[in-house]
């Protein structure tokens, strides 16, 4: 297991990013499809957890890949690719949220209401247990949600999560601590409910 404070990886082993980046820079757009296929699940999960809105998450995921392509020149190939991509996704999510708050975007399919969350998650996750777990994560505050998904599900280090979210490692540790406390409390309550 990777030490939590150290970078977990220097580059994604599944994707020969250096070669792909070279091909893309020489005008081979199709080479980028491999990058999209490799990271699409992770970006979709991250955006869905943050936005709790399937349509919005799909829109932001798509825009994340397009934006990453446009700024691929600024990507440092010595560093892992996914934290860089997650940072772009996170910024786009923030922009999306502020646009939604300012009324530029409609509030349709907003999943902050618990009833709506379950319905939307049913479409995304067929397994009931997994859905319940996602529901628990979706009920966490936004910062904790983002930290939990990146750290536990996507196995980024604390430092990488901090870089992706633009905060300090200390803040991420606090987010993770609070998230675990919330979830543990719910688990305890659920167990008590089962016993009674």
């Amino acid at each position: 297991m990777t030490p939590p404070d150290q970078p977990a990886e220097t580059s994604d082993p599944d994707v020969p990013l250096e070669a792909i980046t070279r091909r893309i820079k020489s005008g081979d757009t199709e080479a980028y499809a491999a990058v999209v296929r490799t990271f699409e699940k992770r970006v979709t999960s991250f955006c869905t957890a943050l936005l709790k809105d399937r349509t919005a998450a799909e829109e932001v995921t798509q825009e994340t890949f397009v934006r990453a392509y446009r700024y691929l020149g600024s990507y440092d190939t010595d560093r892992p690719f996914y934290p860089w991509l997650a940072r772009i996704a996170f910024r786009l999510v923030q922009t999306y949220r502020s646009r939604r708050r300012s009324g530029e975007l409609p509030l349709t399919a907003e999943l902050d209401k618990p009833a709506g969350t379950v319905n939307a998650l049913e479409d995304l996750i067929r397994n009931e247990q997994s859905r319940a777990l996602w529901q628990e994560v979706c009920d966490l505050p936004a910062g904790e949600r983002a930290a939990v998904v990146l750290f536990y599900q996507q196995e980024l280090s604390v430092r990488q999560v901090a870089e992706a979210l633009g905060v300090t490692s200390g803040t991420i540790k606090t987010f993770l601590f609070r998230a675990r406390r919330h979830l543990r409390q719910r688990l305890t309550d659920a167990n008590r409910g089962e016993k009674t």
Partner: protein, 173 residues
Amino acid sequence: MSCTDIRLQIDRRPRVTDPSSDHELEQIRAHTRSCGHCAEYLDRAEQVEQMLLNLPEIEPRPDLCLRVMEQLNELVPEQAPEPEPRPGFVSPLLQQLLKNLSVLLACAGLLASSRADLPAYWLSEIVVSSRIILGLSALVPLEQSAMLLAIACLLLLLSIKAGPRPDQIRNQV
């Protein structure tokens, strides 16, 4: 260590069973062997961690990649090399005009040179004409530009034959 300290240690660890801090983990394990409440606390923490580590990924739309690539193709214009100026770059009418003009200039120059030295004032006209023809030769198809270049060279040769300009004659006098 007290139960409070142990629980604090458990809470502080991003990964409860992280082996990178063996000493701390050993302390926790030693305490929980003798304390049922803390053992339960640790169990719960491990359960939560396992839950989070097993959080399933959400499947994207099946056509996500296709949509991204379509959007990229709209962004990135076809990077085909610039085509060479085609033979039809200069309109056929203009080509014919150029040809006639060149032939006319060449004939006038030849006729004049066969009789005597060219008048001095022809010099600038010949030079300017030859320059125009040189410039235009870059715009027309290869065979026509070769002809224009030949005419331009002829005109430049004629300029050598042209007599001195009136102001130069005056200076000599």
